[in-house]
Every structure is written in structure tokens, then in C-alpha cells.
């Protein structure tokens, strides 16, 4: 399996992803699953600027990501799959999709969300969605950078 990190992060591609995780994991491609960015060339250019030229970026909406996930999982290169929302990750990882782990990287405050960690805020519905997703297979932990301690979903209740 060549996707080495599945991450939910509402800042999408930024320093923690590219430098914090991408370097130690040796990521060679990033799949960004976001409907707005996948439909906007200038936003794609903006995110490409954040990534070394040696790293390939694939922009996809949820439907394309569902369809192409097996292809990316079979890629010989090491990759990161990134969504901006819990809902998008849950949609991509339907029935677990053979995914061992999902990382909560940054889900920030919005009305209706409650703080679980300094960088994780979730509504009760989002938390339930993550619990359901975890029951399908993937172990879900919060960890903003690799040097931080991973926090299990049960501890975010």
C-alpha cells in the first residue's frame, strides 16, 4: 500500500503537511480531495507553490477520489491523501477501504464545534461519523505533527 498518510486538515496543503509529515514519510505525491480546489486552477497553482517540484499533486473531488483510491493505493510511490473535512474523508473511505489509520491534523473552531484538542474541534455529528468510520477498520488518532503524541478517538469524546 503506498498511501502512507490519510489526513483530515482544514488548511489543506501547508507547512505541517509538506514539511512536518511529507519529509519524514518521504512523500512523493499528495492527493488533495477538495471540491472547491479541484474546480479552481488558480487555487491549484497556489497549493502547488507549497510543494517541492519533486512531489506530484493530484486534485480531486470526492467522487473521483472514491473511484481512483485503489489506483493510488497501488501506486509504487509513497503518498498522502488529504481532505479538509470529516465528511469528505468518510465519503472517500467508505467501508474502510482497506485503510489502516486516519490522522486528524487540524480541524479548527466553527460554530457548533466543541474543542477536543487545541487543534481539533468537532461537532457531535462529526465525532459520531469518526466513530462509525473507525468501526469499519481504520484506527483514528489526532496528531498535528509526527513529534507530537497521538491521541486516540476515545480520548476526544
Amino acid at each position: 500500500m503506498s498511501i502512507v498518510l490519510y489526513r483530515i486538515d482544514d488548511r489543506l496543503i501547508h507547512g505541517q503537511v509538506v514539511i512536518g509529515w511529507g519529509r519524514p514519510l518521504g512523500a512523493e505525491f499528495i492527493v488533495l480531495v477538495d471540491p472547491e480546489v479541484s474546480g479552481s486552477e488558480w487555487e491549484q497553482d497556489l497549493y502547488r507553490m507549497a510543494v517541492p517540484r519533486s512531489v506530484d499533486i493530484i486534485f480531486a473531488d470526492v467522487e473521483e477520489a472514491r473511484r481512483r483510491l485503489p489506483e493510488w493505493q497501488a501506486d509504487r510511490r509513497r503518498g498522502i491523501l488529504l481532505t479538509g473535512t470529516v465528511a469528505a474523508m468518510a465519503a472517500v473511505c467508505r467501508n474502510g477501504a482497506g485503510i489502516p489509520k486516519i490522522n486528524l491534523g487540524g480541524i479548527h473552531h466553527r460554530p457548533g464545534r466543541r474543542q477536543r484538542l487545541p487543534y481539533v474541534f468537532l461537532t457531535d455529528d462529526e465525532y459520531r461519523t469518526l466513530m462509525d468510520l473507525q468501526q469499519q477498520g481504520p484506527k483514528i488518532t489526532a496528531q498535528d505533527v509526527p513529534t507530537a503524541k497521538a491521541v486516540g478517538l476515545d480520548d476526544l469524546a
Binding site: 501547508h14 487540524g106 479548527h108 466553527r110
Partner: protein
């Protein structure tokens, strides 16, 4: 002097606050630079913070990195806005130059500070 011209510094952690404090301490000029941190923000909230800092003024937005969440937030909300120019790679020399060249038209002051800021990077 364009008294309406504002500088908004957008950066990670406490960088913006520290840079603005240092620039004000050196220059004695206050109420021109506004710091904005991306701490605890998703993109929408950071965009709102930047919009509140700009508050309708003609503004040079200084961003720490030439990519990443701060730049994305600024450009997502203000791309194409004639009263806003964005300069990346903010440093103290750049901010001091800005404080003393506010008489220039907005596009020119942005070019001027970018030139001064990059010229401040030297190896000795």
C-alpha cells in the same frame, strides 16, 4: 503621507505580533501595522481576521512564507482587489521601509518594500 495606508502582517504563531512590536519600537510609528496570526484558524476564519485588519483601507499585506495557509487565505479573499497588494517573505527591514515610504502609491510602495526586504538578506 497616505494616512489611510495600512500594513497588515500575516504570519504563523507570534511572528506577526513580534515583528510589528519591533518595527514600532524602532520607528516610533504606531497604528499603521496590524498583526494577524493564523493560530487556531481554518482558512475561513483566517480570511475574516485579515479582512477585519484591512477594514477597507488600502493595504499592503505582508505574509511570512511564499506559500502555505497565510498566503492562501489572503489571496482567496483579496485576489484581484485593487486596494490590496501582497508581499511575501516579510522581514523587519521591509516593515521599517514601509513605515517611511507611505507617501508612495500602493503598487509602488509594495515594489519598494519587496526590493528593500530582499536586499536585506546578505551573507557576510
Amino acid at each position: 503621507m497616505n494616512k489611510d495606508l495600512r500594513g497588515v502582517v500575516v504570519a504563523h504563531g507570534r511572528i506577526a505580533e513580534a515583528l510589528v512590536s519591533a518595527a514600532e519600537g524602532i520607528s516610533g510609528v504606531s497604528d499603521v501595522l496590524v498583526p494577524v496570526s493564523n493560530d487556531g484558524c481554518d482558512r475561513d476564519r483566517l480570511e475574516d481576521r485579515i479582512a477585519e485588519a484591512i477594514d477597507g483601507h488600502p493595504t499592503v499585506v505582508f505574509v511570512d512564507l511564499p506559500s502555505g495557509s497565510c498566503l492562501v487565505a489572503v489571496l482567496h479573499r483579496f485576489r484581484g482587489e485593487l486596494n490590496v497588494k501582497v508581499v511575501t517573505g516579510v522581514n523587519l527591514a521591509m516593515l521599517l521601509d514601509f513605515l517611511f515610504h507611505r507617501e508612495l502609491p500602493l503598487p509602488e510602495v509594495a515594489e519598494h518594500v519587496a526590493s528593500r526586504g530582499s536586499g536585506a538578506i546578505r551573507v557576510t
